[in-house]
Amino acid sequence: MDDADPKFSELPSLLGAAEQGDLVAAGKLFDVLYSELHRMARRELAKHGTPVSLSATTLLHEAYLDMAERDSQAFPDRARFMAYASRVMRGLIIDHARNRHAIKRGGQFEITSLEANVMDHAVQPQELTQISEALDELAQIDASLSEIVDLKFFCGFSFAEIAAMRGVSERTVQRGWEQARIYLHRRLRTDLAVE
């Protein structure tokens, strides 16, 4: 993918098909969003010329605005965009974490500028991958739960923001979050215990 405008006109039909369960369309949708977010991140990097701290939330908000500006039909509403894009963001973050881990310096861009000692506290890429796999599994069982984890854990949205997006109460989101954590914890820790 390069910096050329992705074909936003395709998005509505991709979205429709993906929601019908079309895996190919879902994959394409993912790619479009991924390249768009990646492009945005690089654009921010270029603007500042130095490693810069970007928050995933900001990136998503800006990507949406950007997209809506260029093609108002691209995504029917912000909430659905966020739901999809947060899943994509997860991939971006994990890829990024892997790169950063591999290269230490000189990854293409920095989502945040990390100090070595701060690194220790970050979740390790290996665990992120496991979380991601378990999340995909959870999405098959209850997509709304896995979405909460994408929005909250990976993209940094607050409960209130997620609640507002979905038109439900914060409590409901919090309970969903707890359920998802329990699911993931069981999945991950049991795996570890078995290994």
Partner: protein, 771 residues
Amino acid sequence: MSTILTPEQWRLVSPYLDQALDMSERERDAWLESLRATDATIADLVQNLLDEQRALNGERFLEQGPVPVAGLNTLSNRSIGAYQLIKVIGQGGMGSVWLAQRSDGRFERHAAVKFLNTALAAGSGAERFKREGSILGRLCHPNIADLLDAGVTADGQPYLVLEYIEGLPLSEYCDQHQLDIDSRIRLFLDVLKAVAHAHANLVVHRDIKPSNVLVTIDGHVKLLDFGIAKMLADESHPGEPTLLTAEGGGALTPQFAAPEQITGGSITTATDVYGLGVLLYLLLTGRHPAGPLSRSTAELVRSIVETEPSRPSSAIALSAADSNAENRSSTADKLRRKLRGDLDTIIGKALKKEPGERYASVQALADDLQRYLSSEPISARPDTFHYRAGKFVRRNRTAVSLTALAVLAILFGTAATLLQARSARRQRDAALRERDHANRIADFMTNMFKISDPSETVGRGVTAREILDKASTEIEQGLADDPMLQAQMMQTMGTAYLNLGFYERSHFLLERAISISKSAGGPENQVTLSCMNDFAGLLTQEGKYADAEKLQRETLEVQRRVLGPEHLDTLITMGDLSGTIALRGDRLHEAEKLGREVLEKERRVLGPENRHTLIAMDSLAAILGTEGKLSESEQLGAETIELERRVFGPDHLLVLNTMGNQADTLYLMGKYPEAQRILQQTLDIQLRVLGPDHPETARSIYNLACVAARQGKRDEVFSLLDRSIDHLSPRTVPKIEGDPAFKPLEGFPRFSALVERAKRRHPVQGAMCPL
């Protein structure tokens, strides 16, 4: 043992888990128990997953994002506006703080640059942030740290430039200097001045907490971070943002949040009044009103929204009492006495859950504290006022009233009912033996009746007390060969003594009743259980609330299991328990919930005009009053009085009790003339029915004294206290001294003499003065 759930298992358990996650621990336990009865597999699975949740909370699973928030150390030497960053001086939930210096050399002085851990939507968000910043920049007060600048860096990071303050957080400063309570209050008054100034400029702080209140080396109070929480609020959210929103759902513990900040209610100056209440509580007691803070955020949130904090004077006794006291140049005991009364009341009013019930302004809070310092009467009314303690009608199956005739009727009634039931049951096999028993009981009762024989009484009417005294001395031998009957008669007499206010005799008889029925019928026998509840009622009456609650919970658990959840005895214990919890005062929400449950069940099971249903109404009204839900309490009280008068007639004990409660509510509402009227009506009936020496009568007179005190009628107060003080129930006595109504009388020798007199009559024992 944890195994991976199959998708099917997960789908099955998920709705239950969702339900469980919405409950408090206690609710959850009960719920799980009942679920286990219908579906043990699901219940075990839910339990197992909840245990998992505990474990993952312990390891803070997923609590930190995959990438840490901006590592700002890279910012060193960068310039922010006209300021050059020097070094990080603080890092907290909201962001990091840098020491900075003006880079254009215009001022020498240092500044603090605070980066906020929040991304703002580009464009309007940043504009608004700057606009809000300029409003805050106009706040100019010696106790408020100046906001020099606010803006957003090129990469969207909002920041504030603040006056750099070198100092200690208020509570640390106070402890370090071992400031006593009055000095702490004086320092706190400076905080209030600052907040009042901001409020006058329409700025609400929204995040008052110890770390935002510094005291400089020369002892000046400086408030930081005014209105910042609001600057972070995102306009795109409908309604007011909650603190959790403002913090981006971050790791902040909402320790200092007001209930409305958690529930998303509107944020007003009353929000700051609450925050100030928390701060004052901490400052004076060394403890947080929500209790120990080692709990999970969810529990903390729940407690802020639902649980009434312990009174400051009780809180200081809970732990580290001595070091807390030493830091306040006092002893634990002195400190408790110092806080009891007005300071309890003032802080309680600031910490009301309902914003409308707090002080109407920061100034009003300051005024009351000022009054306290100069020993003038404060404006806030105590919400727990001594006669709360008598409000809950203990119930028992046999409605023991207080006239001699009624006592006799009941004793006979009990005996007769028992005999009938038994002869029906055992007619065939034990008819002979029963007849023998029947004769014995008849003899026993006749013997008791002899007391009203003119030859045995000297020219006056027999009293209930006399009948009871005679009966209770004879019952040990009289019915020794029928222990269950003996136990029940003892129970009846024990509760009659209790109602008459003779606690010692009551104690003796109820204890005997329990032990006899335990050995004859077993520990889960219905009679044993109901005796246990009556004994708990006595403990409540003696002020031993914790023991009472424990006993009632034990009893209730067995009754639910053995008799069923809607059995009258079970409901009676539940109702009594709700009263005990309310009397303890720290879990009023729980009391209310229980009270409502009892009322709902009794209305359904017994009907709306049943005696027990009416008692449940009376209790609920009293609980609501204790909670400070005064208008709801007043309404329910009025409704109850009307119904009770219709059902029982105007002189009935229950009517009197509800009237007393209603007077209490009116008192708390400040409707003194109405309170006085209803107390006077109650007293007139009590004098007629109970006589002048009965504790209930004394209570009404004492309460009239409180009303008179509030109306400034000093002579009337003395004469009313003089009339009542010798007959008050022991649990009222320790409260006389701390009753805020009598604050203006302190120092009057007449008052001290009255207090001494009461104390001599009922020396305070450890367990008798509940927290």
